[in-house]
């Protein structure tokens, strides 16, 4: 869309310049024409040709005078038009630059479509820190895969014993639809997670089920607030607000997205009353096998003074994971 607008401006600018040039050329040729010819009535009334030559000469002189006048006028016009052309060109450049600059929505799409490998397998730990300093540690294995239809994520908890075997499968279709399933080994059953569960804490952490969604951009309003250096990293600062209440339990959030890689490295989350109450920060990130990866991140509940830290201990991309891993069958094989 932005590129089309820019092209239209270029074409218009070109046509405008062309018409200016054409005018200039037509004036010069009319001067030449007028300087070489008299009118037909002069020839008829003067068999000797003297009058014609005289008229022609007069005509020439007259036309030369006119030409000079016209040329002076043209130069005057050109002098008047030059600033306009310059202004027009400068404006075109500014508009074109703006047309090519990213909007909040563009950035949201870049984050959504950020390359995360054809697949990945990671060993992670989740540390739940309570206000009184108590800690709980959860070990988990995370598998991801992406194909033309969807992005798949399977998380299996390995410890502690009370949740060992619990597994979460998320299927995020590229058309924005999502499906989530939870396997509970104590029940030996897989459950579909209804939308109402998304607003609740994932395994008692500070992450909600909705935080595990990809967040399909058309469901939200995105506004680029500014560009800023955050912790030495150039970032876009984007404000995102759900278009409908049912899309999120949050009021809105502001995220710092790296310019290189479109990685959200900080997200300030505001509740529906506009109060800042949670903050996600990436503590450590680097490129692994060409993919930007957040190795350590923290979600802080600023109101209740609790935090959840996720650390990836090991990750491997593009191993050719089988699609069968991301099925209910595999969830229940424990």
């Amino acid at each position: 869309m932005r590129k089309t607008t820019f092209l239209l401006f270029l074409i218009k600018a070109h046509l405008t310049l062309q018409s200016l040039i054409a005018r200039q050329r037509s004036r010069r040729s009319s001067i030449t024409f007028l300087s070489l010819r008299g009118g037909p009535q002069d020839r008829r009334s003067d068999p000797t040709g003297y009058y014609v030559r005289r008229i022609n000469l007069m005509g020439l002189l007259r036309s030369a005078r006119n030409d000079r006048k016209e040329a002076r006028n043209d130069r005057k016009e050109a002098r008047n038009d030059s600033p306009k052309i310059i202004i027009f060109l400068v404006l075109s450049i500014i508009i074109a630059t703006k047309a090519l600059a990213l909007t909040g929505e563009d950035i949201a799409w870049k984050v959504y479509n950020r390359p995360q490998g054809k697949d990945s397998q990671a060993e992670s730990i989740m540390i739940l820190k309570k206000a009184r300093g108590k800690e709980k540690v959860r070990e988990m294995r995370i598998f991801t895969r992406e194909d033309k239809k969807a992005r798949y994520t399977l998380m299996r908890f390995l410890s502690p014993k009370d949740i060992a075997g619990t597994a979460f499968l998320s299927i995020s279709y590229h058309n924005g639809k999502e499906k989530q399933f939870l396997y509970l080994p104590a029940l030996k059953r897989t459950r579909r997670i209804a939308g109402s569960f998304k607003f609740h804490r994932f395994v008692n952490s500070e992450f909600l089920y909705e935080d595990l969604d990809r967040r399909y951009p058309p469901k939200y309003h995105h506004e680029l607030l500014k560009e800023e250096i955050y912790n030495g990293t150039p970032c876009y600062v984007v404000k995102t607000k759900p278009k409908k209440k049912k899309y999120s339990s949050y009021g809105y959030w502001i995220q710092w997205v790296t310019k290189d890689g479109f990685l959200p490295i900080r997200i300030d989350i505001y509740d529906r009353k506009g109060k800042l109450f949670k903050r996600f920060t990436a503590q450590k990130w680097e490129k692994i096998q060409g993919y930007w990866t957040i190795f350590e991140s923290k979600m802080e509940n600023l109101k209740k003074k609790r935090e959840t830290i996720i650390k990836i201990e090991k990750i491997v991309y593009d191993q050719g994971l089988a699609p069968e891993i991301f099925t209910k069958r595999r969830l229940e094989r424990w």
Binding site: P160, L187, I193, F197, R333
Partner: protein, 448 residues
Amino acid sequence: MVKRLALLFLAWLCFGGLTYASEIELNGRFWGRGAIDLHHDNPFEDQRIDHEKLRLEAKASPREYLDLKASIELDRLAYYGNDNGREETRVFLWETYLRLVKDAWEITVGNQLIRWGKVDELTILDNLTWQDLRELFTLRLEERQHPWPWFRIQYFGENVNLEGVFTLWPLWPKRDDFDSDWAVFDHLRKKLAADPVFSSLSLKVDKSEPSPSLRNAEWGFRISGTLGEIDWEVSYLYAHDRSFYYYVKSFPIKGFRLNTPSDPIKDLKAQFSNLSITGDTAYISYPRDNILGFAFETTYNDIGIRGEFAYHTDRVFLKKNLEATRKAYWRYVIGLDYRFENGFYLNLQFLQQRVLGWSEDILFDPKLDSYIFMRLSKSFLEDYLEVRLDGTYGITTRGYFLNPEIAYKISDDVEFFAGLHLIDGPQGSFFDVYDANDQVYLGLEINF
């Protein structure tokens, strides 16, 4: 004996296989609960019940295509009353199986917990597990289910999954016959012995338990898949009757009609002149049933919706003369659950059942019966504390069972819980039989 030998062989195979596995995962669980009766209104009732379970399990996947699991459980149930208490301790194999996986196929042999159906507490298709009903429904469904030896074969297709199950060992729920508050015949023997009119009358039970054989085998199949946003399954099971009524072929007291199930002595006295006592043995058998089922699960507008439908060709019902009959019977359950933004979780289930060819002499079950089940819970103190209320209400019979409970985790793997079991129902109803069994309990669960 055959079953024990087969299971021991399987256990040897699984345990033996595990010794060769490089990575064995060991787990354990202790669960204990002590309950005290709230009303001391019966000289023979159990005033205290203790139940403890200790489970040890090991599992490994020594090969990509092979899963092994072996576990044992020690179960102790003790009753204490005014007279002698009694205790029953058993050690048995828990989940002990071998699973082979090859492409879209899986074969699992051994003691397994197989769950069919989609609904939670009021499930009607979940019939492949052995249920410990010695404390009836005061244990949650997952707590009273035990694994059973099945041969299970599954095929996972692109759009549809197929599953077949087979067992040589006939399956029916476990209940106590006598001498507990939850037994089939309650404390009837002791009450008869203590009554001056009926003291000479004794009662015992003769059970013709079918032995493991091809003739007594059970089998079934299930087809399942997903259509859009709906997970569905269709199943058939040829099994022994799964109801908690005994199929009493013959009751030794003829001419008797039970009008006050909570006090049969009262009815015996009132009808004494019409009674004909033919012996002292109630003959129990285990008839067959065919169960056709359909289940689905979906979500709609942030609500989880689940449903099951079952048709039984020959379900056992108790008659007022304490003998049994078998009738065709259908029932369905619709359930939904929702989690509110304030943290409350609500699970509602509605069950309706109809006895085809119903007759007036059927005890407890009206022609059309409806129940509603509700579970309401909320977590506090950063999810360390959970407060929960389970309730079942018989819309037709107007009986109810309430179970408020509070659970507190002192660490990830240690949880205390405490609650109440409150039961009541109008005279003549099933809930009325257990009206005097209201109890308070305290328990502990440790995972290691």
